[in-house]
């Protein structure tokens, strides 16, 4: 059956502005970035003019990609970033889950207050909070280590794990817990057979909200990490602000975006196979 014309118009009116926003400020810049990664750097930063250099047919080159795939060091930094992001995500999950569960099972009146407490750290500046960790970790001789990086990452990203988990757990039907217990399940089995599987959508969205930003983070490794804790984000920042090689930085950004998309796609596939359709 055809959708009435007026309804279609309304749909586009509603969906149009955000769609236009994403096109203009996400898709288009990504394309510009992809293109930039194929060009030569300008002499003092920026991009070289597109005019063909003497002896070459166009102003485009795959040089950056050759560099990236030609040297193990880049793959190693990518791998290290993935490991840090994975560890951070896991630590956030382990810390956030009991708290989210506690909030979700508190009396309704108290829940909003507890959620407020969770997002309260956002009220103070990000850099201030990271510097605070320097003051804490410094005297403990833990500053400028991989551990310090992960502590900082976990601290900053914890609310992004708690909130989706809480939103999911809060919707669980408490009768299901009664039913599990009634049918012979102790608290441990009730959690692993009922609560946890039902919370997987929350686990996945929380993990995405932590994993993806951590992968591209540069401030925390720069402030809390040592020289071995360079992550992809640091390389990208260095390319743009340090060596001023925009095409190289664009290439790295693009590779990072592709890596995130690949991982998100794999997770979505995995999630769809694990859980039945709604």
């Amino acid at each position: 059956m055809a959708v009435p014309r007026a309804e279609r118009v309304t749909k586009w009116l509603i969906a149009g502005p955000p769609l236009a926003f994403l096109l203009a400020f996400f898709l288009l810049p990504s394309l510009i970035m992809a293109l930039a990664s194929l060009r030569y750097p300008g002499e003092f930063g920026g991009l070289a003019p597109l005019a063909a250099r003497p002896g070459e047919e166009s102003g485009l080159t795959l040089e950056n990609y050759a560099l990236f795939f030609g040297d193990w060091v880049y793959a190693q930094i990518f791998a290290k970033s993935l490991v840090i992001a994975a560890l951070t995500t896991f630590a956030c999950l382990v810390l956030a889950y009991p708290l989210a569960l506690l909030i979700a099972r508190s009396p309704k009146k108290r829940r909003d207050f507890m959620v407020l407490l969770v997002i309260l750290p956002f009220a103070s500046n990000f850099l201030v909070r990271v510097y605070a960790w320097m003051i804490i970790l410094g005297p403990m001789d833990l500053l400028f280590t991989r551990f310090a990086v992960i502590v900082g990452m976990v601290y900053v990203h914890l609310p992004f794990m708690i909130l989706p988990l809480y939103t999911n757990l809060e919707k669980h039907d408490p009768t299901l817990l009664d039913a599990a217990q009634d049918l012979g399940a102790n608290a441990w089995h009730t959690f692993w057979r009922v609560t946890f599987p039902l919370s997987l959508p929350g686990v996945f969205s929380g993990s995405a909200l932590v994993f993806i930003p951590v992968l591209g983070m540069f401030a925390i490794p720069e402030l809390l990490g040592g020289k071995d804790d360079w992550m992809v984000g640091n390389m990208i920042k260095e390319a743009f602000l340090g060596t001023r090689d925009w095409p190289f930085g664009s290439m790295l950004s693009l590779m990072l975006t592709l890596a995130v998309l690949a991982i998100a796609g794999a997770a979505a596939l995995f999630a769809r196979r694990g859980a039945p359709n709604e």
Binding site: T175, A179, Q181, D182, G184, V194, P276
Partner: protein
């Protein structure tokens, strides 16, 4: 020894006494119903049997053992919840397998028992489906299969038919009766719907405000209600305020307001001068044309005020000359009856001298 014994159980929530010194026992193999309006404490009592709630005073014994220290997961008692509480992330077969897995049964045994349990509720081919793919009646059956698969000592059912439409409910009632007979497990059924309770139960405890008002078989509850509440709650009843003018072992003579003298069956505790009500079921009241012959002692003239045609029967509301309204039921299959009575038509209502029951205030 009864299977379940509830002795002097009291449960308070703040200032509210949800269960007030309830004592009752349930025999093995019984279909026992806790019947009462919402807030009467029936669900609280059920939750205490299951172990989700604990008495403030009194004890509950199962097979002669006190249940006080047993958490729900250790009681050989399973519950069918009103919302069914099927695990949405598990297939039907995995839902039914759940209690067997918790009991650490070997996989071959689990597979065989799940198959058998699904056959018992006629869902052999739904094992791979997920709860959201099932109809209300099918969910209900999965919940039953899941609760019965380990053969508990007792099955608790918390208003399990409440969410079903009338036709399906009737069908499920019949299935519940035959299922209970086939598996031989004691059912404790909670409901506020009295037709359901009458249709299903071997015995019923009628509850109000945390107390058991009367406990008996359905037919005795219906025929011999112990008080006004039970008479009114179970089925329909005409309640005629009356005073005893004479009490003999053969019967009562009652003064019923402006109606005058009415004959009623004997009541044990009734003495002359006592006030109460004559509870009269509509089907005990005959309705005949005003000029028809009759030989009943209790008969009164009136006019049809309203009637409800139900199909098999018609309920007439007759207003007597003094303003009293009486409901009378007439089976539409009555032989030789040529027509209905119409509104405003003069009629006579009559009932046998041994019909009805006199209840003291």
């Amino acid at each position: 020894m009864p299977l379940l014994e509830i002795r002097n159980v009291t449960r308070r929530f703040g200032t509210l006494t949800a269960i007030d010194r309830v004592t009752l026992s349930i025999e093995a193999g019984e279909f026992f119903t806790l019947l009462g309006p919402s807030g009467c404490g029936k669900t609280t009592l059920l939750r205490m049997i299951a172990g989700f709630d604990a008495p403030d005073a009194g004890s509950i014994f199962l097979d002669g053992r006190d249940l006080a220290d047993k958490p729900p997961e250790q009681r050989p008692v399973h519950t069918v919840f009103q919302s069914y509480a099927l695990f949405p992330h598990m297939s039907v077969a995995r839902n039914v397998a759940f209690p067997l897995q918790m009991a650490k049964k070997p996989p071959e045994e689990i597979a065989a028992k799940v198959k058998q349990a699904l056959a018992e509720v006629h869902l052999e081919d739904k094992g791979a489906s997920y709860p959201h793919e099932l109809s209300g009646g099918q969910k209900q059956r999965v919940a039953l299969a899941r609760a019965l698969v380990t053969r508990p000592r007792m099955l608790l059912l918390d208003e399990p038919l409440g969410a079903l439409d009338a036709k399906l409910r009737e069908q499920m009632e019949i299935e519940l009766i035959s299922l209970q007979r086939d598996v031989g497990i004691t059912f404790v059924f909670v409901t506020h719907a009295q037709p359901e309770a009458l249709a299903l139960s071997h015995r019923i405890a009628v509850m109000r405000d945390g107390r058991v008002e009367q406990m008996d078989t359905p037919s005795r509850l219906y025929g011999f209600p112990a008080n006004r509440f039970v008479a009114d709650f179970i089925g329909n009843c005409n309640m005629l305020p009356a005073t005893v003018s004479e009490a003999t072992p053969h019967g009562l003579r009652l003064a019923v307001g402006a109606l005058g003298e009415v004959a009623a069956p004997p009541a044990e505790r009734a003495r002359a001068g006592q006030a109460g009500v004559l509870a009269l079921r509509p089907e005990q009241v005959h309705i005949v044309a005003a000029n028809a012959a009759h030989e009943l002692k209790n008969h009164f003239a009136g006019r049809v005020r309203d009637f409800l045609y139900i199909g098999d029967v018609t309920t007439y509301v007759v207003e007597l000359e003094n303003g009293t309204r009486i409901e009378a039921l007439l089976a539409n299959s009555a032989p030789g009856r040529a027509r209905f009575f119409e509104v405003d038509e003069p009629v006579k209502v009559a009932w046998r001298h041994d019909a009805g029951i006199f209840l003291l205030d």
